[in-house]
Symmetry: C2
Subunit: 419 residues, 2 copies
């Protein structure tokens, strides 16, 4: 269900270190578990332009303040990420810990701390085991510098394995790695885009415990990056709902180091922007698909809305409804719950005009149930990917949101996360 | 945890028919199940003043439009309610069915249809089996008229059993009857207040699939009733959250038939209003306690807010958070999720000032985790009733909301509701 607009780019092997001049590493620092990758390092061998989008939760984790500050000049060379602890709501210690992480990365990689961005994910309100985190950074830095040497020797592909470990290190309750790379042959040469993400429970509009990192070797100023990222996030990460909660820690960062020497323009520029959005949508879909305990993936397409914002509100409201999610789990064609969720979304529409479809099956027309084949509905709801479509017949705008079902497994996972 | 303000009134046996001149009956009409009470009738033997509060969902069931219309004159004599079918989103048939219900009640009880209010609850988008519903109304009317005769003979207490069946008839996935009566000896004599309610899944601010009916023999004009009811609902039914969904069918109705001959004034008037609110809070708490699949009841008290609305937003956001609810189920003192839910509530506060308590146990102070006894926390979360308290230290306003935990049972119930 990825955006099927003209594909000027293609998917290639690799991830966050696929663009020229980018390296990444992941190590096991023992932050929460003995045997899990939990510290990731992303590095550009030249100064990069940078952009960031952050959670809108009023309660923000300590690394967010630091990263926002370090991004004020629109530049960065490295990103350090830990899982296993959110570094949130722990007072002054949290600010100090976030700065220590940046400082130690800088020390080992020869950067100013201000050139390092920091992200964390994990449990809130518990001081992080800083010694272990910093030790992990030390090991990750040494692995990474080793890779840079391989790169200098023209063997950067040997470093791909390490970059994959960075993708592993940012995962928490995720069950699958979210790591992609695109190659975009444009008029002036080839541009690459790499990305990793994590996100499972607590995913919601405005980004609950969700981290995304994008890299490109294109040459673009940070203001452009910021606009491109902002627009892409709006139609991707912000349209994912797993359980309606937004987190204290979420951010998406985008680095562009210009190593390709190419500034895409004209049609290439427009395709570059589409590619970034396509990448974000791909990661967002993966996040929905990987919702905590999810057994089914749901895509909600709302069309015929008066405004874009109305279309988004409705799509997200449906994806976030516990009752719709439970009905999806039970493969129950309970379209009344879909209409109900649209009704309390806060969007404006006429309940007597709305059509509801499950896949291609019309279940309600003009706000009213129609006779439909229960067998066919059962078949559609039996698939792992389920599409719900609403046409409001009330305007020209549309939006898409993604979510997952609500399962027993979700309750089990979230009943005992902290301990 | 009922409002402990001065109790000028006392709880007595009985329910909706406890006030003078009120009768109620419930019968098994076989609407969805063979052996369930599913049609309820509430009747005043004299004209009553009436008030109503309705769902704010944009998608409204057919009986809501009818009831709103019939309440325009502020008067009513009867309420008919069915469970097993919502009579929602079925087009013109729905409007006709709702009117037929009012018309048939009128026919059997000798009233104008405009004097009859209609409420429904159950599955959305399926035409109700109108013949069975109307037949149920016929039987209920005959039972009820029989009770009126008992009342005339001075044996109204013999009719209480029937009134109890009305409380049973409005239940859907509810596991306990919600039925209370108060006696209020005021200066001029005794006033009664009776009530029944139903509500389980889909309970949320603005009232998801929730029905409440109140009766009193006090003598008050409908404008006063409307204000008193509106204020009471705001701090009771609208502060209950089970799963974040609001329904198409919800309403609370209040009839006052003046049969006591008393219009409470002065302190009595103020106590009367408190009594109505206390009744609504009691029903709201019952609804939260009876949330679908709930194993625990949660009361969230927010104090020190800048505005009442901010306090309410935060309290409801916490009660509605799937992650808080799952942590409660798992008895996990994950207070970070409580802060997170406050953070995305949309309310204004300073995250660095907030205190969080589980029962009497401080778990966070000034927005920062404090060392606390895990054993003590486990004990507090082990109770069936759990209190979460937040002091924002940001103003003078406070609010209370109620909810329940998220359990495997919730998923099971809602995965197969329709079928």
């Amino acid at each position: 269900m990825v955006d099927n607009a003209e594909k000027a780019w293609k998917l290639i092997n690799g991830g966050i270190a696929a663009p020229k001049g980018f390296y990444a590493a992941g190590v096991k620092a023992g932050i929460k578990y003995e045997d899990k990758y939990d510290v990731a390092l992303i590095f550009s061998d030249v100064q990069a332009q940078a952009a960031g989008v952050y959670t809108r939760n009023l309660v923000k984790a300590h690394p967010l303040y630091l990263t926002q500050r370090h991004l004020e000049n629109g530049q960065a060379r490295a990103i350090v990420v830990n899982s296993g602890n959110a570094n949130a709501c722990v007072g002054e210690f949290g600010d100090q810990a976030a700065f220590a992480m940046a400082e130690v990365v800088g020390m080992y990689l020869g950067l100013e701390p201000e050139n390092v961005l920091v992200a964390s994910t994990g449990v809130i309100g518990v001081e992080m085991p800083l010694d272990r985190v910093l030790n992990g950074i030390r090991v990750a830095s040494s692995v990474l510098l080793n890779d840079v040497v391989k790169g200098i020797r023209g063997q950067k592909e040997l470093a791909d394995e390490e970059a994959h470990r960075a993708a592993l290190a940012i995962m928490t309750t995720d069950t699958m790695v979210k790591e992609y790379a695109y190659e975009f042959p444009c008029a002036q040469g080839v541009i690459h885009l790499g990305a990793i993400a994590k996100g499972s429970g607590m995913i919601h509009p405005n980004m609950g415990t969700m981290l995304g990192f994008l890299t490109t070797d294109a040459d673009l100023p940070s203001e452009d990056l910021q606009r491109i990222l902002g627009e892409a996030v709006e139609e991707s990460f912000n349209m994912v709902t797993v359980d309606g909660d937004t987190s204290t820690n979420d951010m998406v960062l985008f680095l562009a180091n210009g190593a390709s020497g190419i500034t895409p323009d004209g049609k290439d520029r427009s395709n570059f922007e589409k590619m970034v959005k396509s990448m974000c949508v791909r990661l967002a879909q993966d996040i929905a698909r990987d919702g905590e305990g999810a057994s089914k993936f749901m895509e909600v397409l709302v069309s015929g809305a008066k405004t874009k914002e109305d279309a988004r509100k409705i799509a997200r409201s449906i994806c976030g409804s516990s009752l719709v999610k439970a009905a999806l789990f039970g493969e129950d064609a309970n379209w009344g719950r879909i209409l109900t969720a649209a009704g309390y979304s806060g969007a404006e529409f006429d309940p007597n005009k709305i059509d509801v479809l499950l896949g291609d099956l019309i279940v309600a027309q003009g706000g009213k149930g129609v006779a439909f084949s229960e067998e066919k509905a059962k078949e559609i709801l039996g698939f792992k990917d389920v599409q719900i479509r609403l046409n409001l017949h009330y305007g020209e705008e549309h939006a898409t949101a993604w979510g997952c079902d609500l399962t027993h497994e979700y309750v089990t996972i979230n009943g005992s996360y902290r301990t």
